[in-house]
């Protein structure tokens, strides 16, 4: 298994430029967030649309009377450019992973750096899909911020040179299990962030005039979580099947398994809370945030601080 250093070098370049594109896109979203339409007519109309059948097209907001149409219009255009730039960054991000896969002739999620990159890609793609369904484009800044932070941490502190993986990871389950987990945990980044905004919107309405209606935020969080949860569940089960093949038991309360279980239980609680009187809304959002925190805790604390079977080559 030879490592193609040239391809791995290109992969690193793509990674770096993708982060750069995300940073610029984030600043553009920030501009839209700051100077876009104050009165989110679109959000209100879309909320009804979501309920009734607006076919998913995002309606263009009509500028309110008191807002200078020129500046808001420019913010609108910049917001659209930000989406284009995010898409461009995501393409580079995909290339980065694809080149790593080619360079190492294996799935590009064999260490923490690569796993983090995959997770962030999933989060960005999830966000791009959410954008097509909900009028929340200007919130891009809040989604890209953690993505950029994670990618920066990954690229600077956890960077691992392209290398083959050790025998324990040489299995097709690496492709299946780790990808399913990356999908699940990457997707829940979006509801995690959106739930924070929801709490802000509900608890401090005076700070959050430019956020979409609470119902829209709740819908974004719920529908993304509902999509991610079965995938994450399947990912954990794939992990159990792999553990049976590799470690001799399908479940052994290894720290990573334990926290994966805890996160699963918390998300299960989130789904139940939305069907329980008195727990909808703020409390449900808080549970969603706890769930995402458990995911992040599992990614960083468990891998870097505790030692368990999931620790490979230090990280």
């Amino acid at each position: 298994m030879d490592i193609n250093q040239t391809l791995s070098g290109y992969s690193d370049w793509c990674y770096g430029i993708a982060v750069g594109a995300y940073v610029v896109a984030m600043l553009m979203y920030l501009y839209e967030q700051a100077f876009g339409y104050r009165d989110r007519t679109a959000a209100k109309r879309e909320l009804v649309g979501v309920g009734v059948g607006a076919g998913g097209d995002t309606l263009l907001p009509e500028p309110p009377e008191d807002e200078p149409a020129g500046r808001a219009g420019r913010a609108e255009r910049i917001g659209k450019m930000a989406v284009a730039l995010t898409t461009f960054g995501a393409l580079l991000h995909v290339s980065s992973l694809a080149l790593r896969a080619l360079a190492t002739s294996r799935a590009p999620w064999g260490n923490m750096y690569e796993f983090g990159a995959t997770l962030c890609l999933v989060a960005v793609l999830t966000w791009l899909v959410v954008l097509r369904k909900f009028p929340v484009r200007h919130l891009g800044v809040w989604v890209l911020l953690p993505v950029i932070a994670l990618m920066f941490l990954g690229g600077v502190l956890l960077y691992t040179t392209a290398a083959p993986v050790q025998p324990a990871l040489q299995s097709y389950w690496l492709v299946i299990h780790v990808f399913a987990i990356a999908l699940g945990s990457g997707m829940v980044l979006v509801p995690g962030v959106v739930s924070v905004l929801y709490l802000l919107k509900v608890r401090k309405p005076e700070w959050s005039g430019r956020l979409p209606a609470a119902e829209v935020l709740d819908q974004v969080a719920y529908r993304t979580t509902v999509f991610a949860f079965p995938i994450y569940t399947a990912g954990v089960i794939f992990g159990a099947v792999w553990a049976e093949q590799s470690w001799g038991r399908f479940w052994g309360w290894d720290p990573k398994e334990t926290v994966a279980f805890i996160a699963w239980v918390v998300y299960a609680a989130y789904l139940h809370s939305r069907a329980t009187a008195g727990w909808r809304g703020g409390r449900a959002a808080a549970i969603n945030i706890v769930g995402f925190a458990a995911m992040i805790f599992n990614l960083f604390f468990i891998n870097l601080v505790t030692t368990g079977l999931h620790s490979y080559a230090g990280v």
């Binding site: 009734v52 083959p164 025998p167 389950w173 819908q219 529908r223 089960i237 099947v241 038991r249």
Partner: protein, 526 residues
């Protein structure tokens, strides 16, 4: 009393309680990730207790080192289990009833529903009803006659949602039961076998170096099979990272045991041997140096004993190879002349002066750095001792003394003052095997698959209702068509489907001249 029981039962089976119990479960599981666990690493637990004083001991008394077998963890999941059963039984009955039931009556005022539409069409109410029934194929339908010649259809769809929900929860129950059964009848044993054709048979617990039986396993009735380790091959990348481990083994089980037929298998890290209802895993490997001792009277003894790696990257290993003097029957005399060769083994020797270290995990340039100890090994003391060490008590009390220290390469030897010759012949590899048995794990997997499918079904499918009402137009010509829709659980996304149904229905009907409402359902709300 009955009221109390009933209230307790109701409280326990309410969603709110389930939610709180879910939180408690997450919370109770957490210490297992933060505090070392006996079942995973017993030495670490002892270190932790030693490091944390009274706090460490308190945690021990509160079962924090055995979280998943503790009273409080078991209490939470048992309560959750009961709560789940109590919630599931009525829901299953209710679901069975709803499967036989008819869709609910059409509400009087459809325009108050979250999704609704109204149009005037030229067809008669009967024609409209026929069209609607054709379009709503696959929905559960109930047509009713209403006053003033109006007709209506109640349609309902998505019954599978609740089915998925029930399947998910029942599968969770099954999974927990499967886990419990597994804990009763499973066993797990580890054994070190030299990779030189040595064999191991699964006949009893004594054959193992360590053995962990399930609650109902006493180790007398293990599935019989034998494994012979013919060879072990490891390959490393130049930087020392492992590339592959292969153990070439032969095994026999069932009828092969009687006919003594050996079947070959290549045991690898991700590829266990599955035979006789058990699984055999390759956990790790190591080195076993071979020493030949020629005693002053000319008698020879050769031992190959496994040494354990102290560095998992370079495989620098330590151990003790112990010899009894041959032909000495008097125990007191024997205790003066026992020998132990103890020290370090390096697969790739790197010498700093006389200090031996290893530079690479593979056998490139093996060497040992040994102390030869003579005297009483303490084997007769009645105390168990590690096979990797000499008894420290014996050394401290002066009954076991160092008589030589030397670095040797294969083929080299040293001669002690009394004429005893010790030769380092070479090295063999050993493999660390694990045998696992869990008769319920197939069931657990089956339930886990059901969990995923049930979950997917219950989250993707929406239970939704749709009503069509055809009222004869006031002037006697044509029909006023009214539609209403309501999703019973989550409204999101139902609007699109409702719009499609409305569009399809209207596309087949000619609008009457005086239209009421917008022509297409999709725009009905804008």
């Amino acid at each position: 009393m009955i009221a109390f029981l009933r209230n307790t039962w109701r409280g326990l089976t309410s969603m709110r309680t389930a939610l709180v119990l879910l939180f408690l479960l997450a919370l109770a599981a957490l210490p297992g990730a933060l505090v070392p666990q006996r079942s995973l690493n017993s030495t670490k637990v002892d270190e932790y207790i030693a490091d944390h004083g009274w706090w460490g001991e308190l945690l021990g008394r509160l079962e924090f080192y055995n979280v998943y077998g503790s009273v409080w963890f078991s209490a939470v999941y048992l309560l959750l289990f009961i709560s789940l059963v109590g919630c599931l039984l009525p829901r299953t009955l209710e679901y069975a009833k709803s499967l036989r039931g008819k869709p609910v009556l059409t509400p009087r005022n459809l325009s108050r529903l979250p999704h609704h539409h109204e149009s005037a069409v030229s067809a008669t109410p009967e024609q409209v009803m026929a069209r609607a029934k054709r379009r709503l194929k696959g929905w559960r339908l109930e047509e009713r006659e209403e006053e003033n010649g109006a007709r209506s259809i109640s349609a309902e769809r998505g019954y599978l949602r609740e089915a998925g929900n029930l399947v998910f929860h029942f599968a969770m129950l099954g999974l927990i039961v499967g886990l419990a059964v597994g804990k009763m009848f499973n066993y797990e044993g580890q054994v070190i076998v030299l990779a030189n054709g040595s064999q191991f048979c699964n006949v009893g617990t004594l054959g193992y170096d360590s053995f962990r039986p399930g609650l109902r396993v006493d180790g007398t009735d293990l599935n019989p099979f034998c494994v012979k380790v013919d060879d072990f091959r490891a390959n490393y990348l130049p930087n020392g990272q492992a590339d592959y481990f292969h153990a070439d083994i032969s095994y026999q089980s069932g009828a092969d045991l009687e006919s003594n037929t050996w079947r070959p298998y290549q045991l690898e890290v991700n590829s266990p041997l599955r035979t006789a209802g058990d699984r055999v895993y390759l956990l790790s490997h190591g080195y076993a140096p071979t020493f030949t001792v020629t005693f002053p009277d000319g008698q020879q003894r050769t031992h190959t004993t496994q040494w354990r790696p102290v560095n998992q990257i370079t495989y620098l290993s330590e151990g003790a190879t112990k010899f009894d003097p041959p032909g000495v029957t008097d125990p007191a005399e024997r205790r003066k002349r026992q020998l132990a060769i103890t020290g370090l083994f390096a697969p790739t020797a790197v010498l700093n002066g006389k200090l031996l270290d290893s530079g690479f995990p593979d056998l490139r340039d093996p060497a040992v750095a040994i102390d030869v100890m003579k005297g009483d090994l303490g084997n007769d003391s009645g105390r168990g001792q590690s096979i990797y060490e000499v008894s420290k008590d014996m050394v401290d009390s002066g009954r076991l003394k160092r008589v030589a220290r030397e670095n040797l390469r294969p083929g080299e030897d040293i001669t002690l003052d009394d004429g005893t010759n010790i030769k380092f012949d070479g090295v063999q590899r050993w493999v660390y095997l694990q045998v696992s048995h869990d008769p319920a794990q197939g069931w657990v997997l089956g339930f886990a698959v059901l969990v995923v499918f049930g979950l997917g079904t219950s989250l993707v499918i929406k239970r939704r209702r749709l009503w069509v009402r055809a009222v004869p137009a006031k002037d006697g010509d044509g029909t006023v068509l009214l539609l209403g829709g309501l999703a019973r659980t989550d409204q999101a996304g139902y609007g699109e489907e409702f719009g499609r149904v409305t569009d399809d229905l209207l596309a087949e009907l000619t609008p009457a001249d005086e239209r009421v409402g917008a022509p297409a359902g999709r725009d009905s709300e804008s």
